[in-house]
């Protein structure tokens, strides 16, 4: 039978010593938060959409997952688990330029790379295919809740970034679709991740247009909207401030989180 504490604190307990220790603790707490913020900034743990009322939650999610998952691999599945009916999400009606490129079998499709690279370059789909191709059987899940598993074939983005020699100060890769106002960005942990692919094939054949063909960036540790279809341009940068409104992606500008590992 446990008695409640017999301690009866009163104002008398609030001695000078207590005031001093409380003051010191508060100062240490504030200083600690300041140091934590500086360290988080230094180690790239603060997402570009850290402002606003939801900034704290976003920063906690991004920072904790970055610390936990920097090198972890997305789950891969067996060939028998590939979805028989992968759902191709809605796409905008194709632009005239897309139709023209499609009519030519995408032979004139180009992926240009600019920004913090030693040798800016432009690649055709065939040139991308000349690099050793890799495949992964991973899940694509939409933020809405639906999902499917497919085999994705392509070249790891890290290999192409190596070919154009990314400069050491690079921190983000911004990627643009041929669809107007469709662009996203990822940090270097995701850009250099072995499962981040410039994808040109799916389930043993060419990547269908409905799934982003001829070229889609596959980021399997983030949900669907980070896996942008119809990629035409990559920009390597050390800051997202100058890109769009500075929030890091078109979806962040539309009110969706920049980091979508959930």
């Amino acid at each position: 039978m446990s008695e409640p504490s017999t301690r009866e604190p009163s104002l008398r307990d609030l001695s000078r010593r207590k005031l001093i220790t409380t003051g010191l603790a508060a100062t240490a707490g504030v200083a600690g938060l300041g140091v934590a913020a500086r360290l988080a900034q230094k180690y790239g743990l603060i997402p570009p959409d850290h402002g606003g009322i939801y900034g704290l939650g976003e920063t906690l999610t991004y920072a904790s997952q970055r610390l936990l998952t920097r090198h972890s691999l997305a789950r891969e599945f067996s060939r028998s688990q590939i979805s028989e009916r992968p759902f191709p999400n809605e796409i905008e009606p194709p632009t005239d330029e897309f139709k023209r490129l499609q009519a030519g079998g995408f032979a004139d499709w180009r992926l240009s790379i600019s920004g913090l690279v030693a040798r800016p370059a432009s690649f055709s789909i065939d040139q991308l295919k000349s690099y050793p191709s890799r495949s992964q059987i991973t899940m694509l899940q939409c933020e809405e809740g639906w999902s499917y598993i497919a085999e994705w074939i392509g070249v790891p983005l890290s290999q192409i970034l190596q070919a154009v020699e990314v400069l050491p100060q690079a921190r983000y890769v911004v990627y643009f679709s041929i669809e107007p106002d469709t662009w996203e960005s990822i940090d270097m942990a995701d850009a250099l991740h072995p499962q981040t692919f410039l994808t040109y094939g799916m389930n043993g054949s060419e990547l269908p247009v409905g799934h982003g063909g001829p070229l889609r960036l596959r980021v399997p540790r983030q949900v669907g909207y980070k896996n942008v279809k119809f990629i035409t341009h990559l920009k390597v940068t050390d800051s997202l401030k100058g890109v769009g409104k500075g929030l890091g992606s078109a979806s962040a500008e539309a009110g969706y989180a920049w980091y979508a590992g959930i």
Binding site: S10, L60, R75
Partner: protein, 275 residues
């Protein structure tokens, strides 16, 4: 049943500094005065209301997220082209989601997802504070762990029967939880909340890349989503019963206890109980 029994149940008074000293050990039934008796510690009250706030934010945003795809599956995958385990009889926020409805609800997923994760973080920190503090100061042992005698079949069936007869709680329950309350609260705190966090994390492609077992043991990512939905429903059911019981037991006195930390004992209580 004397003062010692009474005090052993009101363990939270240890955390209430100022009023505790004013409480007499036993109030004579004949004295026509009322006294504020300590009930809930400041930590319990603050974490209770932060949890309430977070839960409503999670509920509203969670419902908004479900509206974008009110279809549920079992296993690893599921989409508009695959059969469902079940679907909710509501329209979706997109016309291509087969729900059987011709009209479309507005898509609110942007702020809903931001709010969902923000309140989840706040709830996790609040829950950790509550659990760590509750283990440290004996809150769980004193106030929530049922005593051995209360767990006998006879005691349990008595309590269940009195609940089923909708009997008003006895006055002692204003200052202590009955055995069914204790078991429900422990179930919510140590089973439902951890499970809703787990099933939530199991839907994160980044989290499960580091901890694949979190989703594999649940049977797949869509299973995790379906389980997350059902655990949320269980929590909503708890909320409804909880609020209903608070109403039934005396809304003003129970709210007063959870806001100010004290219950009024004395004349009112003795007459009601019949002493």
């Amino acid at each position: 049943m004397g003062a010692t029994w009474y005090y052993s149940r009101v363990g939270d008074s240890a955390c209430i500094p100022s009023t505790a000293s004013a409480v007499p050990t036993a109030v004579p039934a004949a004295v026509p005065t009322t006294t504020a008796t300590p009930r809930h510690s400041a930590l319990v009250r603050v974490t209770h209301w932060i949890t309430t706030l977070c839960f409503f934010a999670l509920l509203v945003s969670g419902a908004e997220i479900v509206i974008s795809h009110p279809r549920f599956y079992w296993g690893e995958t599921g989409n508009d082209l695959t059969p469902t385990l079940f679907k909710l009889p509501i329209p979706a926020s997109r016309n291509l989601v087969p729900t059987g409805y011709g009209y479309v609800l507005p898509d609110q997923n942007g702020w809903s997802r931001y709010l969902h994760f923000q309140s989840a973080w706040l709830l996790v920190f609040t829950g950790l504070l509550y659990v760590v503090f509750g283990l440290w100061n004996g809150h769980f042992r004193r106030n929530l762990l049922p005593e051995g005698a209360d767990l006998s079949w006879r005691a349990l069936s008595t309590s269940i029967a009195s609940h089923l007869r909708f009997e008003r709680p006895i006055a002692a329950e204003a200052s202590s939880y009955n055995v069914l309350q204790r078991l429900s609260y422990l179930f919510v705190i140590f089973i439902l909340f951890p499970f809703v966090i787990w099933t939530g994390l199991a839907m994160s492609p980044a989290f499960v890349s580091a901890v694949p077992a979190a989703v594999n043991v649940l049977g797949g990512q869509q299973s995790a989503r379906t389980l997350h939905f059902f655990v949320s429903l269980a929590l909503v059911l708890f909320l409804l019963v909880h609020v209903g019981m608070v109403w039934f037991a005396g809304f003003r006195s129970r709210m007063r206890a959870m806001i100010t930390g004290t219950v009024i004992t004395g004349r009112a209580a003795t007459t009601k109980e019949g002493a």
